[in-house]
């Protein structure tokens, strides 16, 4: 898989930050149910969606991600009671700021996926990968030094 080249074989690279308690289990469930989602999605497990610092997202783009998606428990279901409420506010503001700087707003997303929603996890990932494929490679937050070719 070519990561960030301009050639025709380009495939998007997606980073999915998944909370340990809901979304990561959701992804797990998708796996045990043999539901498939695109291999472009690289999952990074985090203890809670609010563990995600804006820098994680920027760094993913720096190092060649074309899209970054955050998955956490549905509001009200956070293992730590309030973590995802904070995620919700922070990411709304951060995404709005990225949009303000002219960075494509379609490249970032937050979705709530519970441990029981294996199918939903798959649907979300399919949709997101489709959206990013349409957008093409991410260039506006890319660090050229990190290109592999």
């Amino acid at each position: 898989m070519q990561m960030t080249s301009d050639n025709e074989n380009w495939e998007p690279k997606i980073i999915a930050f998944c909370c340990n308690w809901c979304s990561y289990s959701g992804a797990d469930l998708a796996g045990t149910n043999r539901l498939s989602y695109p291999a472009n999605v690289k999952i990074i497990r985090v203890p809670c969606s609010c563990r995600i610092n804006p820098m994680f997202i920027l760094r993913a783009f720096q190092r060649g991600a074309d899209g970054v998606i955050l998955c956490g428990c549905h509001p009200g279901d956070c293992h730590y009671m309030t973590g995802n409420y904070h995620t919700r506010r922070r990411m709304t503001l951060l995404f709005s700021m990225l949009d303000f700087l002219g960075i494509e707003k379609e490249r970032t997303r937050v979705e709530w996926v519970s441990a029981a929603e294996g199918q939903r996890f798959v649907d979300v990932m399919n949709d997101f990968v489709g959206q990013i494929t349409e957008l093409g490679p991410s260039r506006r937050l890319e660090d050229l030094r990190c290109r592999t070719n």
Binding site: D143, C146, T148
Partner: protein
């Protein structure tokens, strides 16, 4: 020999130079901004007193890629990042910035020679530009610089609707000779020399009325320790925010750091400006040698006004361009330090 052409012909002059070699001129980006840019037809030279950033960028850029390392198995491939430098011309450099090149030369071209710097330096032809309207923040004359007669490879005046050109070094003469100045209606007569002299006289008169006219650095070469231990530093450094604006806009500040960037599939080594005002400056395993802002602040000014002159025949590492006077967030600048030193002495 001083050659005179009409200032309407300046764009054509620039065009001619750009046909010889790459040409950089100061360009106004807005009221607030003038920066050096590569010349292209239609670009107008800025007549602003000075560019926002100094001209040291040409020889000592903020970021200079040095080498790339790639690893395959146990083999490490090292790639030099140097590219072939072509001859180029920097046009319209003010007298203060021209002197700063001398200051930098004494650091980078002294043994061991910094080849990155040397490479850029030797390919450059510097055409300087005499000041016609100095500002109150200018104090280049304090360091023996004549704003109305700058150094460089060639110099230029703009006055009375004319451009006056004079070659100084062999390189500068060569550049002027390579141009078809006759096509621009050039004249080189005694009148041109007299007009330039009158212009210089006029600027010198203006300088005399500036508030910093009487400012003179004190030769403290024999009082290194005394000044180092003087109580003035506490008060001066007390309100310093520890940012690096003064060092980064300074044409003579030359501290740098070498850093490695791990790109995930190799390492890129680059050199970048560093500032003695930062608390992590010259950080070592055992910590930093200058733990307080007082020590860091003192270092900057001791270096410019005492250490550098000691090592360089009394030449100061300040050229009086006034950039730090304008940019320091709290206006704690070198003039205030010079005055405090003088009072202390």
């Amino acid at each position: 020999m001083i050659t005179r052409i009409s200032s309407e012909k300046l764009p054509e002059l620039l065009q001619q130079i750009s046909e010889q070699e790459k040409l950089y001129i100061p360009v106004d980006k807005s009221d607030k901004l003038s920066v050096y840019e590569e010349y292209a037809p239609g670009k107008v030279m800025s007549l602003k007193l000075n560019t926002l950033r100094s001209a040291k960028d040409f020889f000592f850029p903020q970021v200079q890629p040095m080498a790339k390392f790639r690893m395959e198995g146990k083999k490490i491939e090292v790639m030099d990042q140097r590219t072939e430098t072509e001859d180029y011309c920097i046009f319209g450099v003010r007298a203060c910035d021209v002197r700063s090149f001398d200051v930098l030369d004494r650091v980078f071209l002294a043994d061991p020679v910094d080849t990155y710097y040397e490479d850029r330096r030797k390919h450059a032809t510097v055409v300087s530009f005499a000041c016609s309207e100095p500002s109150e923040t200018c104090f280049c004359h304090s360091f023996g610089i004549d704003a109305a007669k700058p150094d460089g490879d060639a110099r230029m005046w703009i006055a009375n609707g004319n451009v006056y050109l004079e070659g100084i070094t062999e390189k500068g003469e060569k550049l002027l000779q390579s141009l078809d100045l006759a096509a621009l209606g050039a004249a080189a007569d005694d009148a041109a020399v007299q007009e330039v002299e009158a212009e210089q006289q006029r600027v010198h008169e203006i300088q005399k009325r500036m508030p910093l006219y009487s400012l003179k650095p004190t030769d403290n070469r024999d009082k290194e320790l005394e000044i180092f231990n003087a109580p003035i530093w506490k008060e001066l450094s007390d309100k310093c925010l520890g940012c690096g604006s003064c060092t980064f806009v300074c044409p003579t500040c030359q501290c740098f750091d070498i850093e490695d960037f791990d790109s995930g599939h190799g390492v890129e080594r680059y050199r970048c400006w560093d500032s003695c005002m930062y608390k992590d400056f010259t950080m070592m395993a055992a910590g930093t040698p200058r733990k307080t802002q007082l020590e860091r602040f003192r270092q900057r000014f001791m270096h410019k006004l005492v250490y550098y002159p000691i090592r360089n025949d009394g030449i100061y590492s300040c050229v009086g361009c006034g950039r730090c006077l304008r940019r320091c967030p709290i206006h704690m600048n070198i003039v205030k330090v010079m005055k405090a030193m003088e009072e202390d002495a």
